[in-house]
């Protein structure tokens, strides 16, 4: 270098930048699992590690974008909390003291425990799974094992949404439908913070705002999506039913309802028997063929399913037996026109001015009836009538846990569907659309299996343990009416608990109510912490021993997790799972599919990295256990393992019904069939080549009115999505509910016990109604004047992400948010500490003040607080010291009132009522401030976890320079 060039470089240093650096050695497509959103991702690999993860632009779910979690996948893969080998409990339960064992020993132990249960009393195995996306496998396995005690997380999650939708529409808000995002003009969102459709909702909201469609968010808290809404309606929790039915009242009064739609697609005209005291009062009047009857113009009765029939909306019909019957619409109108449903009557309870309710009803009506959409696309309805265009009313709704997590959530969700139907907005352009494989028939099927006669040692169950009861005959109860399932699902406690009651399993098992179990097998559910109500007590139950025998009351716990979560410490046997980038997975149409309104779709996960530790995909383990236990579905005719290749083998070769398997794409020997077809040995290759997903685009004429669209219904049958090409009639009036109610009134042979009658009679109303959430009704609202809620933070998934070095920087501890006016009244400043108490307990937490929250509400981010020692975090981490859970305040049982101890849940579905929580806030003293209470004993540290590094310098998987503390 010459002096001149040195000087030049000294005075004007010049940087050479490689603007076209090589990005990756290899790109692999798979499906994200930083949450249950199922977005398609492209994983760029470089230098043996991950360079970058981005969205797959072709993927139907996320169209190229990913969320804050998805983009932090690298740190999930590098989490120091990853379990490294199987563990067997060495100390007391809950201590976290383990012995590391080999897989051989792990599997043999499990087989030993499970085979004796199966041989004697299979229901003594309770198998419950959490966030997994292989419920069609796990449910099938449970059925093969012969235990009815199976469910996934839906029972504490959103079964209210699923059940209300399935009984009303044959589809539901919860992942099974979505607004017609591109066409809707008026969109109302109820109680959503993030939801499973994280990216699709965001993409859609952005489109709405750009198009100038109106977006109203009904939510006590103004954050996230609500922040960008045109209008925020800061409702008081648990009162949405009142609000929605007041809107219905207004629409009925103004006659802004779509009568044509009601006639063609709903049961509005069906006659309901009016015979108080009779065993069929409130059921539909039917002809001999079982077809519901309608009252024709001339006053005669006709079959309500017949094409072309004209039915009266209002009017008394006289049935052949002389009894009276009236159309559903009449009952409905009579009820909701009552002044008790007027905006003025509900405004105060909802915290929404009557004028606002009235205006919103008007806006909805205007969008529906004055901005009608017509698409120049021909279609054929169920009766074979050809229509030259598709008409739609551009009003749509989406709702989630702000509705479902209340004890009145089922009926509130029904009210939302009622409103949608009255406006004629179900599966129409601009309205709300079914996502394939929905719609399913109404009333829904199948029924749950697990009745006494269906359980026998060594035998599989006769069907799926979960399903949809339509009458008391379908309940899973014994002759005395007592529950037969450990979670009491499908009993009189929660008759249509379509997803089970996972939050009651541990309590019931500990009490031995209805019976003691032997083994609790859990997968991907942090039940000792954030998914438990009453977490502290739950962990006590998990560790409680019977004083006479010295045995744990829940004798054995097997758990599969991929990370060192709180729950791991409570297992006797830990089966370490792979991460989402290390295994095959299948997001199946039989489970929670990724179908869109424009057609069915499913997807897979493929291993993009090899595990660097001694872990196995839980599905592989389950399939191996199935074979070792000799479960019929898992052994070959010769008695060997049926799927020796593990889960990928099962995905390709398992058939649920002939031609229908886990994946719908590229079936048939050459991949020539969609939906139905013989297994294709090269199916996974085809998926991988297509970016790990399959989708079928419906032709334009099949995209709307799917519930009554002949061509669609036939396609759905041919693809195996439904069994019969029959129209799905929307159920304004849900007859099965009346059947339960009649039983409560003493009709029929299967009657609820006395303790339950009043309750069943009250809540199983076939038309939606509102009632005060149970906790609010039982506690003294003077003592507990506030509602307490949680919200999902967009960048954290439940308990998963405190181990993620990037995400925990964003949210490392949570605060209790209070309305500024409330804070002022309590003399609180930012970051002051308070005691938050409920009827059940109290916690000490730091606060923050905000304006955008209903004045009667306090809230916090969900699942940020952690237990010391878990997740391989330092014991002085903020998650332990300043983070907290509301779960300690939430009891799994209702506040006692001297009667039967009911679950803190919806009386119809058993959905956990997380958001019914009532609290009070009291200032903490100065010396109490600084750390949250309660705090728990630190969990021990399994050796194989190693120590977390003190500095991370991640660079394309190259971690040789990492420092360890």
């Amino acid at each position: 270098m010459t002096l001149a060039s040195w000087l030049r470089e000294y005075f004007s240093p010049h940087e050479v930048i490689d603007t076209s650096a090589k990005i990756s050695d290899e790109v692999k497509f798979t499906t994200c699992y930083m949450c249950a959103g199922r977005c398609g991702i492209k994983v760029h690999l470089k230098g043996g590690g991950i360079r970058y993860i981005e969205g797959n632009p072709d993927h139907p779910v996320n169209r190229g974008v990913i969320c804050g979690k998805g983009a932090s996948g690298i740190m999930q893969q590098r989490s120091p909390a990853k379990l490294k080998r199987p563990l067997k409990r060495a100390g007391e339960r809950g201590s976290g003291e383990f012995r590391e064992i080999e897989w051989d020993e792990a599997i043999t132990t499990a087989v030993e425990w499970l085979s004796s249960i199966r041989a004697t009393d299979p229901k003594k195995l309770a198998f419950f799974t959490g966030r997994d996306q292989s419920q069609s496998l796990t449910g099938y396995w449970a059925a093969q094992f012969g235990t009815p005690n199976f469910a996934a997380h839906g029972g504490f999650c959103s079964v209210n949404m699923a059940a209300a939708g399935m009984y009303t529409l044959g589809g539901s808000f919860w992942e099974f439908g979505e607004p017609d995002w591109d066409r809707t003009r008026f969109f109302m969102m109820f109680g959503v913070a993030e939801d499973h459709d994280s990216n699709p909702i965001k993409i859609a909201l952005s489109g709405l705002r750009r198009r100038g469609a109106k977006f109203v968010s009904v939510n006590p808290v103004r954050t996230g999506y609500s922040a960008i809404a045109d209008e925020w309606v800061g409702i008081r929790p648990g009162t949405d039913g009142l609000f929605v039915l007041a809107v219905v009242h207004e629409l009925l009064k103004a006659e802004k309802i779509d009568l044509d739609y009601l006639g063609r697609y709903t049961n509005a005209g069906w006659l309901v028997i009016q015979a108080p005291g009779a065993g069929d009062d409130g059921l539909f009047a039917r002809n001999e063929a079982g077809e519901p009857l309608v009252l024709e113009a001339g006053g005669s009765l006709a079959g309500g399913m017949t094409a072309g029939v004209s039915a009266r909306l209002v009017g008394d019909a006289v049935l052949p037996d002389g009894r009276r019957a009236v159309p559903v619409f009449q009952l409905l109108a009579e009820r909701y026109l009552d002044p008790s449903y007027a905006p003025e009557a509900v405004a105060e309870a909802c915290g929404i001015p009557a004028a606002t309710i009235r205006r919103l009803a008007g806006e909805m009506a205007r969008a529906a009836f004055e901005e009608e959409i017509e698409l120049a696309v021909g279609w054929t309805d169920w009766a074979g009538r050809r229509h030259e265009s598709i008409r739609g009313r551009p009003v749509s709704i989406h709702a989630m846990r702000g509705i479902s997590a209340h004890s009145n959530g089922f009926q509130t969700c029904r009210a939302l569907h009622l409103l949608q139907i009255l406006l004629g907005t179900i599966d129409v352009p601009g309205g709300w659309r079914y996502k394939s494989p929905h719609p399913k028939p109404t009333p829904p099927g199948p029924k749950p299996a697990g009745r006494r006669e269906q359980i026998a040692p060594g035998k599989p169950l006769a069907g799926s343990p979960l399903g949809y009861p339509l009458s008391p005959e379908d309940l899973i109860i014994d002759a005395e009416g007592h529950p037969l399932r450990i979670d009491k699902a499908f009993s009189w406690d929660a008759p249509i608990a379509a997803h089970g009651l996972m939050h009651m399993v541990i309590t019931n098992a500990w009490r031995g109510d209805p019976y003691p179990i032997d083994t609790l097998l859990m997968y991907m559910a942090n039940m000792a912490w954030n998914s438990a109500m009453n977490s502290a007590e739950t962990t006590r139950m998990l560790t409680d021993k019977d004083p006479t025998s010295g045995e744990y009351r829940i004798p054995r716990i097997i758990y599969s997790d991929a990370y060192y979560s709180e729950m791991v410490a409570y297992a006797d046997l830990v089966l370490p799972d792979t991460t989402y980038l290390e295994r095959w997975d299948c997001i199946s149409l039989l489970d929670r599919p990724i179908g869109s309104p424009d057609g069915p779709a499913d997807s897979i996960r493929q291993p993009v990295l090899a595990p660097d530790r001694d872990v196995r995909p839980f599905q592989d383990v389950l399939i191996e256990l199935g074979a070792r236990l000799g479960l019929p579905g898992f052994i070959s005719p010769e008695g060997g393992p049926r799927y020796p290749g593990g889960y990928s083998d099962y995905i390709v070769n398992h058939e649920r019904r002939p031609g229908v398997g886990p994946l719908a794409g590229w079936r048939g020997a050459d991949g020539e069939y969609s939906g139905r077809g013989a297994p294709n040995p090269r199916q996974l290759e085809r998926y991988v080549a297509n970016g790990c997903f399959w989708k079928h685009e419906l032709p334009d004429g099949q995209r709307y009115f799917k519930h009554a669209n002949k061509d669609y219904l036939e396609t759905a049958v041919s693809m195996g999505l439904i069994d019969k090409p029959e129209p799905v009639v929307l159920q304004l009036y849900v007859e099965p509910l009346q059947r339960f109610r009649l039983a409560a009134q003493g009709h029929g042979t299967i009657l609820p016990p006395e303790t339950h009658r009043e309750r069943i009679a009250a809540y199983f109303d076939p038309l939606p109604f509102w009632y005060t959430p149970f906790e609010e009704a039982r506690v003294d609202c003077g003592t507990f004047p506030l509602h307490a809620l949680t919200q999902r933070p967009m960048q954290m998934y439940h308990s998963w992400h405190s181990q993620n070095a990037w995400l925990r920087q964003i949210l490392g501890s949570n605060r209790l948010f209070l309305n500024r006016a409330l804070g002022r009244a309590l003399g609180l400043a930012e970051e002051d500490w308070v005691w938050l108490s409920s009827h059940h307990g109290r916690i000490r937490v730091p606060t923050r003040l905000m304006d955008g929250v209903n004045p009667d509400v306090v809230w916090t981010w969900n699942a940020i607080g952690k237990r010391a020692g878990a997740w391989n975090l330092d014991p002085d981490s903020p998650e332990f010291r300043q983070g907290f859970l509301l779960n300690h305040l939430i009891s799994e049982l209702l506040p006692p009132d001297g009667s039967y101890a009911h679950a803190n849940a919806d009386p119809i579905t058993g959905q956990a009522a997380w958001y019914d929580l009532r609290v009070r806030v009291d200032r903490a003293t100065a010396h109490e401030a600084g750390t949250t209470a309660p705090s728990f004993r630190k969990l021990a540290h399994p050796v194989s976890l190693g120590r977390a590094p003190a500095i991370l310098r991640y660079f394309s998987g190259d971690d040789h320079e990492e420092q360890f503390s």
């Binding site: 000294y10 005075f11 240093p13 954050t223 925990r808 920087q809 964003i810 949210l811 490392g812 501890s813 605060r815 923050r848 905000m850 903020p878």
Partner: protein, 315 residues
């Protein structure tokens, strides 16, 4: 702003060193100070030690001190670079001046000229130091017309205090330096009080509203920080000093930095001799303590606009 000890030490120590250099470089050629070689050795050694020690301390603040040599290159735009250039430049004439004076007893002619040059360069160094702060628009408490004069005044004051002590130590006879010192100390005090008044009564034009373009609906305030724990920006720029400490530290700065040195200088003037020398020495020590707390406050009370994004209502 986070009061980093290395920087506090740097500005106080280098300020005194360069100021002493100014006084020697001008005062000696003009014959206003003792011309003795021993005095020259002591005074220059102290000036150099203070200046170089300060510079070394500032280098320790660097993330990559081994690359400090690069800091002289951007004098065309950077006050920090200019400061570095002048600081180093000062040592060249100062060396000639020192050698001439100490080894050859020369204080006039070329040696004297070098003294003047060193003084000029030292003056420029202090100016640049002041400008480093005064040029930073994001910090209202620095970006104002009081900062550079303050730097001069406080630098000169510390230089004078040291000088007065040395002069007394050397010749133990009353000198004009004490009177000047007293004047400079009082001027520095006045200047500092004006500065404090300025920052107490004004705040930046930049507000949460201008920082975010929000505010059409009313007051803008942070809901949640982007990250739960403090990041680099907050650790460095988000330093907040409690009002209680601020008031206390200002009193320390007032009393130790100005009041006591002024009083001790009066004592020195009045008594002379050993008492005077001791008083002048104590004045230096007291001023050092006072100036360190003054400098600490100079950082601690400075509010960076970035804090508006992290919950500050005003800067």
């Amino acid at each position: 702003m986070h009061p980093a000890l290395s920087i506090i030490f740097f500005t106080t120590s280098a300020g005194a060193g360069f100021a002493l250099m100014i006084l020697l470089g001008i005062g000696v050629p003009l014959g206003l100070l003792p011309p003795e070689r021993g005095f020259g050795f002591a005074a220059l050694a102290i000036a150099v030690m203070l200046a170089a020690g300060g510079l070394a301390s500032s280098a320790s603040h660097l993330g990559r001190p081994e690359r400090a040599w690069r800091a002289f290159s951007q004098w065309r735009s950077s006050w920090l670079s200019r400061e570095g250039v002048f600081a180093v430049l000062t040592f060249l004439p100062a060396a000639v001046f020192g050698i001439g004076w100490i080894f050859f007893g020369a204080t006039g002619g070329l040696v004297g000229l070098c003294g003047v040059l060193a003084a000029a360069s030292a003056l420029a160094t202090i100016y640049c130091t002041g400008m480093i702060y005064a040029s930073l628009k994001p910090i209202h408490q620095w970006h104002n017309s009081w900062v550079v004069p303050n730097y001069f005044a406080l630098g000169l004051m510390s230089g004078f205090l040291v000088l007065d002590f040395l002069v007394r130590l050397w010749s133990a006879r009353p000198s004009g330096t004490s009177l000047l010192t007293l004047i400079v100390v009082l001027a520095g005090w006045w200047m500092k009080e004006r500065y404090w008044r300025f920052i107490d009564t004004t705040s930046a034009r930049t507000t949460p509203a201008t920082a975010t373009l929000l505010g059409s609906r009313g007051r803008v305030r942070m809901l949640e920080p982007p990250h739960t724990e403090e990041n680099y920006l907050l650790k460095e720029m988000g330093f907040r000093v409690a009002r209680k400490h601020r008031v206390r530290l200002r009193w320390i700065a007032r009393l130790a930095g100005f009041g006591l040195p002024a009083l001790l200088t009066v004592v020195a003037l009045a008594f002379g001799g050993v008492v005077g020398t001791v008083a002048a020495g104590l004045a230096v020590a007291s001023a050092a303590l006072g100036l360190i707390s003054e400098r600490w406050l100079f950082f601690a009370e400075a509010k960076h606009t970035v804090t508006l994004y992290y919950g500050a209502d005003a800067v």
